[in-house]
């Protein structure tokens, strides 16, 4: 086979200069994007930390002063919680511009984790105060600022609420050694169940988190069970049991 070389090389190949010019444009574009992405990740991490700290704070307040009235504690906790979450709301206000137009969906994956943690903390405070579930609009309201609403997706709302179950489980378990903790645990159990049963059939998106939620629910059920079994052995109302134990420890 002899060389069947084609016509001589075309003179004007993509010149170095034109490629360089082309890529120069990308560089600016990519750098801009990466920087924004980094800023949003950092902000989201800050939001996550603040929200986690808020959740810790709520647990802490609910456990301090064993003799205080449950209602009063809850009000105090919710108040302090909302106060702390205002820092998060301020962060979101500053992010409005970063997420204008199509940018919100572009950076949604970076923003979501923080937002879900915020919803978890917010709904926990709300539950302590009202004993019920904050609505989608309720969450949206807290994200209003002079430039408008910070965008909220249904999926973040639902996933944030899923995580709430875990905190309620912790709350129910650590609360039972308190006076009236037994009643509280039973309430939490009923609440989580109601919420849980309502969602399961409809929302497919939750499947990943669902097993965690149902584990939390089972843990709460176990607590309610243990309380009930214990108090069934003695034919005394739970409140009286509390009194007897308190007397015994202090003596």
């Amino acid at each position: 086979m002899t060389s069947t070389a084609s016509s001589s090389p075309t003179p004007a190949i993509a010149t170095k200069e034109s490629v360089a010019k082309l890529f120069d444009y990308f560089r600016a574009d990519l750098d801009d994007h990466n920087d924004r992405r980094e800023r949003l990740i950092k902000a989201s991490r800050d939001v996550t930390n603040l929200s986690k700290k808020t959740i810790f704070l709520l647990h802490r307040i609910m456990m301090e002063d064993p003799e205080a009235n449950e209602q009063v504690l809850a009000k105090r906790a919710a108040h302090r919680g909302h106060e702390k979450l205002r820092e998060v709301q301020n962060i979101y206000a500053t992010l409005m511009e970063e997420l204008e137009g199509d940018r919100f969906w572009r950076y949604q994956r970076q923003v979501s984790p923080g937002l879900q943690e915020y919803i978890e903390a917010l709904s926990f405070a709300y539950y302590l105060e009202h004993g019920s579930l904050i609505t989608f609009d309720g969450v949206q309201q807290t994200l209003l600022n002079p430039q408008g609403y910070f965008p909220l997706t249904v999926s973040d709302y639902l996933l944030g609420l899923s995580d709430l179950t875990g905190e309620l489980m912790r709350f129910a378990i650590s609360g039972i050694s308190r006076r009236g903790g037994q009643k509280k645990a039973t309430e939490v159990c009923a609440f989580v169940r109601g919420y849980f049963e309502r969602f399961t059939p409809y929302v497919r998106d939750l499947s990943k988190k669902q097993s965690v939620t149902s584990q939390s629910l089972e843990k709460i059920e176990d607590v309610a069970y243990a309380i009930f079994v214990r108090s069934s052995e003695y034919d005394i109302p739970p409140e009286m049991l509390d009194d007897i134990v308190a007397q015994s420890i202090s003596s």
């Binding site: 060389s3 075309t10 190949i13 993509a14 990308f26 990519l30 199509d102 969906w105």
Partner: protein, 222 residues
Amino acid sequence: MDAADLYRINDLLDNDVELREKIKEQVTELDKKARTMVGLLNKVHSTPSDAIPALLDFLNPVLLSCQETIIALAMIIPKNQFWRWKDMWSNSLRTAVFAAAFIQYLSDRTLVSLNQVAKILGIKEESKDRLTLPAEDYLHGLISLVNELSRLAVNAVTLGNFDEPIRISIFVKDLFAGFSMLNLKNDTLRRRFDSLKYDIRKIEEVVYDVSLRKLSPAINTQ
């Protein structure tokens, strides 16, 4: 959360499911076209250079027909939600970009620019809040082009075309230098870019074989 709220949320979720179905339909269409082009471009490796124009005549209509699908797709996407859904088609889109870039290389040995390729594929400035061509996808398409050109360098020689590897070498090196100017983060793009060095080595070795044996007169113009 009362029943009305639940109802509303459910509605929103249902809408998304429906939208996803519609998008999927168009993407399947786009994917078919992209695959057809890849199949035709495969023939390049066994086609003598003088028969390439005829092959391109087959390819161009398919490439053009992508416009229609992409315009239909853009009309489905809600305003500002481009980034929400783009993962559904980015693979097909990258393949289409690759095809467009390969076709242009074969036509006149030039690099198609991002704007050119967007225009060819029917991605319009005025609907950029629905569908746009992200730099990332364009760059992925170019990397696939380099992958294919390194194979072409080998097969062109087998077909007796000793100049093609040299042209490819120059073209790819320019492109690689362009890529090197970018600050890529640690993602697929960077990994694929890093792997380009294997393609470049392969091309360099072909040029080496040709030049060592003095098989191409063009070698001195590099």
